[in-house]
C-alpha cells in the first residue's frame, strides 16, 4: 500500500533522466571555494588566513553557537583568500578559497573503503562526532544535524522518519545513494536511532524509485526496527510536514516542529553522512550532486568535493549546451537560479539543472480567472490567489489572516496557474513586507 498526504499536491513531469547513472567521483577541483555559511544558523568563524596550508578534512572554520556547523577543507592546498564571494544564493558571503596542490587527507580519517558495521562509539561520542564533522541536513534545508538530536527537557520522540521521497523532478542523488550505499545508510539510521533513543524508524520513498525501495527493504531485514514504506508520487511529498502526515497520519501544527508530534525527520543523504562521520571519522566534505538537463550531453550523478565550482560539474557533464539559459542549484520546483557558474557546491546542493531558453521562459501573465486551482493544489490549505491580490493592493495588514507564513514555498500554485500568475513571487514579497511591518511596530 502506497501512502500519501490528502491535501493538495501536484504531479510535475518527473524527468528523472539520471536515475540509471551510477555515482561517479569527480576529480579534485583546481580551486575550491568554501563558504563559511552552508547551513541554517550562524556562519562559522574562519580559522585560516591567506597563505595557510590546509589538508583535506582539516577544519577551517568553527561553528559558533548551538545552531551552527563546522566547516572543513575539502582539498589539500594553500588558502588564496578569505573574502566575500558569491554563493548560490546570489549574495556575497564570506568564503575561503583554496588553491589545490595535492590530495593529502588528515591522518585520523579512515580511508579504508570497507564497511564498518559495528558501532564502537558511546552516545555522547556520537553526538560530538556529528558536531565535529559538520554534519547538516543534506536534503536542502541544511539544518545542523546535532540540533535535531537533542530535545528540550521532558520531550521524547517516538518515531524517526527518514526522508527518501526525493520529490523534486530531475534530481536523483538520493535515489542513487539508496542503490549504492544502502548498508551505510542503514548503519547511519541505526546510529541515530540509538543516539536519540528511538526504537522505530520509517524510511519513506516515492514509488518512482521501486529499485530503491526494494534494495533498502532487502537490507532492512537485517536491521530491526527499520521499515521501508512506499509513497505515492506526488509533489511535495518530501516536505517534512507532508512526509510525517503521509507516514503517521499526524499533522504538525501551524508554526510547529515535527517534535511537537513526537517525530524527528532526517534526509536519507544525511544518514550516509552520519555513517561516514561516526564510523570513518570523515567530515562532511563530499556530497552527491545530480547534474542534469534535457539538453546536457552527459547528465550524471557525481560525488563531488564541497567547494567545487559549478562550472567544473557542467564541464564534466559535457559542457554548457548552446541554448542553455537557466542554471539552477537544486530541482526545478524549489531550486535557485544561478547568475554565475563560479559559485561552489555546498552541503545542501542536491542537483544542478540546466534548462534551455524555451524551458526557462516565463509565459505572459494574464488576469486571475479564479479557477480555484491554486487553492486546490496548495498542500498547506491556504489561498495563494487571495494573498497575491492582497500584496498587489498593498493590504499587508490582512496577510496574517491569510496565514501567509504557513506557506513553505513549494511553488505548486505558480506551477499550476493557467494564467501564469507568479503567485509564489508575491507570497515571498508579502512575507518580506509583513516582516518589515512587524519590525516597524
Amino acid at each position: 500500500m502506497l501512502k500519501t498526504f490528502n491535501k493538495g499536491g501536484i504531479h510535475p513531469a518527473e524527468n528523472k533522466i539520471t536515475a540509471g547513472k551510477p555515482i561517479s567521483t569527480l576529480p579534485v577541483p583546481p580551486i575550491a571555494i568554501i563558504p563559511v555559511l552552508q547551513h541554517i544558523g550562524t556562519p562559522a568563524n574562519p580559522l585560516v588566513k591567506k597563505g595557510d596550508k590546509v589538508k583535506t578534512g582539516q577544519m577551517i572554520a568553527s561553528g559558533e553557537g548551538f545552531i551552527a556547523a563546522n566547516i572543513h577543507s575539502s582539498v589539500t592546498g594553500t588558502v588564496t583568500r578569505v573574502d566575500k564571494l558569491t554563493d548560490a544564493s546570489g549574495y556575497k558571503r564570506t568564503a575561503i578559497e583554496i588553491e589545490t596542490s595535492s590530495d593529502e587527507w588528515m591522518n585520523d580519517i579512515d580511508l579504508n573503503p570497507g564497511l564498518v558495521t559495528d558501532v564502537s562509539l558511546s552516545i555522547p561520542e556520537i553526538m560530538v562526532r556529528t558536531w565535529d564533522q559538520g554534519i547538516v541536513g543534506m536534503g536542502g534545508a541544511t539544518f545542523p544535524t546535532h540540533v535535531k538530536m537533542v530535545f528540550p527537557r521532558g520531550i521524547k520522540a517516538e518515531c524517526l522518519i527518514i526522508n527518501g521521497a526525493e520529490c523534486e523532478p530531475y534530481v536523483t542523488a538520493d535515489h542513487r545513494l539508496m542503490l549504492e550505499k544502502g548498508e551505510e545508510i542503514m548503519i547511519g539510521i541505526s546510529i541515530v536511532k540509538s543516539a536519540i533513543g528511538i526504537e522505530k524508524a520509517i524510511i519513506g520513498i516515492e514509488n518512482n524509485k521501486p529499485d530503491g525501495i526494494e534494495n533498502l527493504q532487502r537490507i532492512s531485514s537485517r536491521f530491526p526496527g527499520i521499515t521501508v514504506q512506499g509513497l505515492k508520487v506526488k509533489y511535495p511529498q518530501g516536505s517534512e510536514k507532508h512526509l510525517i502526515k503521509s507516514l503517521t497520519g499526524r499533522a504538525v501544527p501551524s508554526g510547529g516542529l515535527p517534535i511537537d508530534v513526537g517525530i524527528v525527520v532526517f534526509n536519507i543523504g544525511t544518514m550516509f553522512a552520519v555513517y561516514e562521520a561516526v564510523q570513518k571519522n570523515k567530515p562532511l566534505i563530499e556530497r552527491t550532486v545530480t547534474v542534469t538537463g534535457k539538453s546536457l550531453k552527459n547528465p550524471s550523478n557525481f560525488r563531488v568535493r564541497i567547494g567545487t565550482p559549478v562550472s567544473e560539474l557542467i564541464k564534466a557533464a559535457g559542457g554548457l549546451p548552446d541554448h542553455a539559459s537557466k542554471i539552477i542549484a537544486g530541482g526545478p520546483m524549489m531550486g535557485k537560479a544561478l547568475n554565475t557558474l563560479d559559485v561552489p557546491v555546498t552541503k545542501g546542493m542536491s542537483g544542478l539543472l540546466v534548462l534551455d531558453d524555451i524551458e526557462s521562459k516565463r509565459k505572459p501573465v494574464q488576469n486571475c480567472i479564479r479557477c480555484t486551482r491554486c487553492v486546490t493544489v496548495c498542500p498547506m490549505g491556504i489561498e495563494p490567489y487571495l494573498i497575491m491580490s492582497m500584496v498587489e493592493k498593498e493590504k499587508c495588514e490582512f496577510l496574517d489572516d491569510c496565514h501567509i507564513n504557513d506557506c513553505m514555498e513549494c511553488g505548486s500554485c505558480s506551477y499550476i496557474c493557467p494564467a501564469n500568475r507568479p503567485l509564489l513571487d508575491y507570497i515571498r514579497l508579502g512575507k518580506a513586507r509583513l516582516k518589515k511591518r512587524k519590525q516597524q511596530k
Partner: protein, 330 residues
C-alpha cells in the same frame, strides 16, 4: 545569456485559452443537436453572438480601456457561444448583438474584464434580453419543423411553460403530463426551448468531457442536480397531483445547461469545495422556488445570478482547511 528568476522553474501545460477552448469543445455535441432540431436559426445566432462578443471585447479593450486586447484567451468566444445557446433560435439578429453588448460591455468589461466580473456575462446578457424583450424571449421554435426558417419559424411553448400555464388553470399533473413530450423526447431534446438547453444527453456528454479533462470539478453540477432532485422529490412525494416529479424538472428548461456550463463559470463561482456545495445547493433551491412558486416558468438564470452575488460572501467565510490547523494526533 543567463536567465535568473525565482522558483518554480517549471509550469504545468494548463492555460486559460486551453481551458476556454475545452469548454467550447464540450459544447459541440449540444450545438450539433441544437442545429438538428432547430436548423439554420441556431447557426445564425451562434455565429452572430460569438462574432459580436469577440468584436465588442476587442473594441472596448482597444479603444476605451486602451490596453492590449486579450481576445486570444477564448473567454469572449465562450461567452458568445453560451449566450447563443441560451436564446431561442428564432430571435432577431439585432437582439443577439444587443445581448452580446450587454454581456461583454456591461457584465464583463465594465468590471475590469476577465476574472473581475461578479456575474456570469452570458447570463446577464440573457436576463437583460429576457426582461426587456419578453415576447421575443418566450416564443420558442418548434423542434424538427424549422430547418430552413429563422425569425419566421413556427413557435410553441416549452414543457415548463405548459406546466406553469396548466397549474394556473387548475389542471392536475397527471393530466398535464399527457400534453408534454415523453421522457425519451425530453432526454434527446425534442421539445421547445432555448437553442442549447434542450438536449439532456448532449449536455451530459459535455459534462463528462469537462470532468475527464479536469476543466471543472463535479461539485457544482452535482450539488445543483442533487438539490433539485431532493427538493422536487419531497414535493412530488407529498402530492404527486400538484407537483411534477424530479425527472421532469431535471430534463426540462435550462437546468442542465445552467448547472453544467453557467454555474461552473470559474470567475463567478466559489473558490473552495465547501463553498461550491453551498453555492450549488442555493442555486438548486432558488431554481425550484421560482419554477414552482414564482411567476416565471423557469428560474435557473435568476438562481445562478443570485448565487453569483453571494460568491464574495461565501469566499470570505468559507475557507479551505489549513494543514495543521488543529492538532489531529492519533
Amino acid at each position: 545569456m543567463i536567465t535568473v528568476s525565482p522558483a518554480p522553474h517549471d509550469h504545468s501545460n494548463v492555460s486559460v485559452s486551453k481551458l476556454m477552448f475545452g469548454v467550447i469543445i464540450a459544447l459541440i455535441p449540444t450545438f450539433i443537436v441544437s442545429v438538428i432540431f432547430f436548423g439554420v436559426g441556431v447557426l445564425i445566432i451562434t455565429l452572430i453572438s460569438m462574432l459580436s462578443c469577440v468584436a465588442f471585447e476587442y473594441l472596448i479593450q482597444r479603444f476605451i480601456l486602451k490596453k492590449e486586447p486579450s481576445i486570444s484567451d477564448g473567454s469572449a468566444m465562450v461567452t458568445g457561444l453560451l449566450l447563443a445557446l441560451c436564446l431561442p433560435a428564432n430571435i432577431p439578429v439585432w437582439l443577439v448583438i444587443l445581448g452580446s453588448l450587454v454581456a461583454i460591455g456591461v457584465a464583463k468589461m465594465s468590471f475590469g474584464g476577465l476574472g473581475n466580473n461578479p456575474f456570469n456575462p452570458a447570463l446577464v446578457g440573457r436576463v437583460f434580453l429576457f426582461v426587456s424583450f419578453p415576447v421575443q424571449m418566450s416564443t420558442y421554435p418548434e423542434p424538427l419543423q424549422n430547418w430552413f426558417t429563422y425569425t419566421d419559424a413556427t413557435t410553441g411553448a416549452t414543457p415548463l411553460g405548459l406546466m406553469k400555464e396548466g397549474i394556473k388553470n387548475g389542471d392536475s399533473i397527471p393530466d398535464l403530463m399527457n400534453n408534454i413530450p415523453s421522457y425519451i423526447d425530453l432526454f434527446i431534446g425534442k421539445m421547445g426551448g432555448s437553442a442549447g438547453e434542450i438536449a439532456a444527453f448532449a449536455l451530459i456528454i459535455g459534462l463528462i468531457y469537462l470532468l475527464a479533462r479536469k476543466i471543472i470539478t463535479f461539485h457544482i453540477p452535482v450539488s445543483i442536480i442533487l438539490t433539485v432532485t431532493i427538493f422536487t422529490g419531497i414535493l412530488w412525494w407529498s402530492d404527486p397531483t400538484k407537483y411534477a416529479n424530479p425527472l421532469f424538472h431535471l430534463l426540462t428548461g435550462g437546468l442542465l445547461l445552467g448547472a453544467i456550463f453557467m454555474a461552473t463559470d470559474y470567475v463567478t463561482s466559489p473558490m473552495t469545495i465547501a463553498g461550491m456545495w453551498i453555492y450549488g445547493i442555493g442555486i438548486g433551491i432558488i431554481t425550484i422556488l421560482i419554477r414552482i412558486f414564482g411567476a416565471y416558468p423557469e428560474g435557473v438564470q435568476f438562481a445562478i445570478l443570485i448565487m453569483n452575488a453571494f460568491v464574495p460572501l461565501i469566499n470570505k467565510y468559507i475557507k479551505p482547511a489549513r494543514f495543521g490547523e488543529r492538532p489531529e494526533n492519533e
